[in-house]
């Protein structure tokens, strides 16, 4: 018999927090769906099949956004971050494993991962600190050309070449931005646009770095492992791009960890403060210029590293790889994925890069389509596919 002053357990104690926080299922389903879709997209060759897939994906995307499926997905992802990071990595590895013998598919996957790394750099600059960078491709190119020169003319270990690529890009960025730090934001925009446009023409005119003919770049070697040789597993020779896919995944993960920690710290919070209200930030002691330069340099280091690996992977670079349009693609990816949200980068990059590579019909039209997509996003959903969430410094299971 229950006494009147003792309520049944279910009413007196609050429900355990995991019952209120969303379960991980929507997120797992989402990640698996994206991975499967990407794999199918990469394996299929028929143009009509690809077109259908593309249209289906676009419709599914719009429906998912409208019905709130994307926010459920993201909510679940955020609530179980540790688990979901593991699931995402596993999904990437699975995709890479399935495509292990396909050169072109793995090249695309590696390129997507490199673009993700570069876009994370851009996110630190633009998404966190509000520093405009319309020359992403130029800094990517700076890293690439550094790798080309160091790889061909020095015996520097390639991991250091990778870092050097990042450092050169970072240095170049600081030289570019320092003069205009005291001026208003649109001056920085002008400088990066001008740099982005002129980087390519400068390289083409100048023959010291190969001119318009470009430069050959030796393949990457890490601790004696030459990535340009396909691995032989169980008698089966894999594509050598398999090696690069693994390396680019590792780089993306490393940069992701740093970016995440940066955001979830006082530094990340100060970046946001500078972006949102510079004046108020300065009256509370924030060194606005140091923060902007810091964000710009850190971002460019990431972009440069990605460029260095890109050069070593493709074996040959020329100025046309690093033109203004490519800079705009990088911006398009972070706008579409959700500005300031690193989790939006991979799906956005995959969607933006894979489809035009496979669908010959739209390849020529891809910049037109990118610009239209960004315009639509800016008009109707400026937060992007996965809007950025509030800062949680140390998210624990279901908490923050």
């Amino acid at each position: 018999m229950l006494s009147s002053d003792k309520l049944p357990l279910s009413e007196s104690t609050p429900a355990p927090s995991s019952a209120r926080a969303p379960g991980p299922l929507p997120a797992i389903v989402g990640v698996v769906a994206i991975a499967v879709f990407a794999t199918i997209l990469l394996r299929v060759h028929g143009q009509w099949a690809l077109l259908t897939l593309g249209v289906v994906a676009a419709i599914a995307l719009v429906v998912a956004v409208r019905t709130g499926a994307t926010s459920r997905f993201e909510g679940a992802f955020a609530a179980h971050e540790g688990l979901m990071n593991g699931v995402a990595i596993a999904a990437c590895l699975a995709v890479i494993a399935v495509l292990a013998k396909e050169d072109f598919s793995l090249l695309i996957v590696s390129t997507v991962l490199l673009y993700c790394t570069a876009c994370m750099g851009l996110t630190v600059q633009l998404g966190y600190c509000g520093v405009l960078n319309f020359a992403g491709a130029a800094f990517f190119g700076a890293g690439a050309y550094t790798a080309a020169v160091l790889g061909a003319h020095t015996a520097l270990p390639h991991l250091l070449v990778l870092l050097a690529g990042g450092c050169i890009a970072g240095l170049l960025g600081s030289v570019l931005l320092l003069p205009v730090l005291r001026t208003r934001g649109h001056y920085a925009a002008l400088i990066t646009v001008a740099f982005g446009i002129m980087f390519r023409s400068f390289l083409e005119v100048n023959n010291t770095l190969g001119g318009p003919q470009g430069l050959m770049v030796p393949g990457m070697t890490i601790f004696g492992w030459s990535l340009n040789k396909g691995l032989v597993i169980g008698g089966v020779t894999l594509s050598f791009y398999f090696n690069y896919a693994l390396v680019t995944l590792a780089l993306a993960i490393a940069v992701y960890v740093v970016t995440r920690r940066l955001e979830r710290s006082w530094v990340g919070m100060h970046f946001d403060a500078v972006r949102i209200d510079e004046l108020a930030a300065s009256t509370f002691g924030l060194n606005v210029q140091a923060l902007k330069i810091g964000a710009f340099v850190i971002g460019n280091v990431f972009i440069g590293m990605a460029g260095a690996v890109f050069a070593m992977m493709t074996g040959f670079i020329s100025p046309t790889d690093f033109d203004f349009s490519t800079s705009l693609v990088l911006i398009a990816i972070i706008m579409l994925g959700g500005i300031g949200n690193v989790w939006g980068i991979l799906p956005a990059a995959a969607f933006v890069l894979i489809l035009p590579e496979k669908l010959q019909a739209i390849q020529e039209y891809r910049f037109l389509l990118y610009s239209a997509a960004v315009i639509l996003v800016l008009l109707f959903r400026p937060e992007g596919l996965f809007p950025r969430r509030l800062r949680r410094y140390f998210p624990s299971r279901g908490g923050g």
């Binding site: 208003r184 649109h186 001008a194 446009i197 039209y365 037109l368 800016l378 008009l379």
Partner: protein
């Protein structure tokens, strides 16, 4: 180096300056009225040139030969179409976003520019190749000693300067111009005073775009060639010129335009082997100027309420 040779460069420098100044004035109008950087401006220039070219080809196909008629209709079509385009860009892409952070407007206009540029490249017949632009202006050469000057160059320069002066007059001496200046100084108060804010913005965009179209046609007439990518670089240069003069300041824009042309001409004349670097050089100097005078040579026209 004889005077004739030098004078040739001076003339082409002035011509460049006129074009840059026209583009820069457009940027100034947009910034003044809405505090926005409109990065589609350069591509509007190209579009105007292409519309004029297409009009010309259409008229010729219809058998019309008279240069005066051709030029008149070309200009009408180019300027009219771009004025309309400017209004559309303002109404659908810029005005709706005017309360968003400024970089959003920058980005959307940049993308509109890309869309225009790509559309020309993809949909105009052999759009990725340079198109020859007709010489509808009389190009009889005049000789003064060693100096050879084509009549069309003179006409273009005079027209350009006249147009800039007219725009200046319009802004400073007419009621519509006054409305533009009022909105530029304080949009909220202007609204309270009964000025139709939206109309003024659309007018400013129409005017700026028509100017760009005219600059595009003039550019085409001068070089006898247009290219889908011309506008991008001209837009950057025009923006740069507007900035160095002081954003929002028409005189600054004009000054900036001629300054940029001067810098480029200096490189070409003094170090001919480095001609390819003329843009880089001019930009570098401009950046240095901005470091020294962050609000521009004549001064930027905006303030923030604390």
């Amino acid at each position: 180096m004889d005077i004739g040779f030098l004078a040739q460069y001076v003339l082409s420098g002035v011509m460049l300056g006129v074009v840059y100044a026209m583009v820069a004035v457009g940027f100034t109008l947009y910034f003044g009225v809405l505090d926005v950087i409109n990065f589609s401006h350069g591509d509007v220039l190209t579009s105007g040139a292409f519309v004029s070219l297409a009009t010309y080809l259409g008229l010729r196909a219809m058998g019309i030969e008279s240069p005066a008629v051709l030029l008149a209709v070309m200009l009408l079509a180019g300027l009219g179409a771009m004025a309309l385009l400017g209004v559309l860009v303002a109404k659908f892409f810029v005005l709706p976003l005017r309360h968003a952070p400024p970089f959003i407007t920058l980005l959307i206009t940049l993308m509109v520019g890309v869309a225009l540029r790509e559309s020309i490249r993809l949909f105009y017949p052999s759009g990725s190749n340079p198109q020859s632009f007709p010489a509808v202006l009389p190009n009889t050469p005049y000789h003064w000693g060693h100096l050879i000057v084509r009549l069309d160059t003179i006409i273009l320069i005079v027209t350009g300067l006249a147009v800039i002066a007219l725009v200046n007059l319009f802004i400073n001496r007419t009621r519509a111009g006054l409305a533009i200046r009022a909105v530029a100084q304080d949009g909220e108060t202007a609204k309270i005073m009964g000025i139709n804010f939206e109309w003024v913005v659309l007018l400013a965009f129409a005017l700026g775009s028509a100017l760009a179209a005219l600059a595009g046609v003039m550019n085409g007439l001068y070089y006898n060639e247009i290219n889908f990518g011309t506008g991008l670089m001209l837009g950057i240069i025009g923006f740069c010129a507007a900035v160095v003069g002081g954003l929002g300041n028409i005189y600054g824009a004009i000054l900036g335009g001629f300054l940029f042309a001067l810098l480029q001409t200096i490189v070409v004349v003094a170090t001919p082997s480095l001609t390819a670097y003329k843009d880089v050089f001019a930009f570098a100097v401009i950046i240095l100027l901005m470091v020294v005078k962050p609000t521009g040579l004549i001064g930027e026209a905006s303030s923030e309420r604390v």
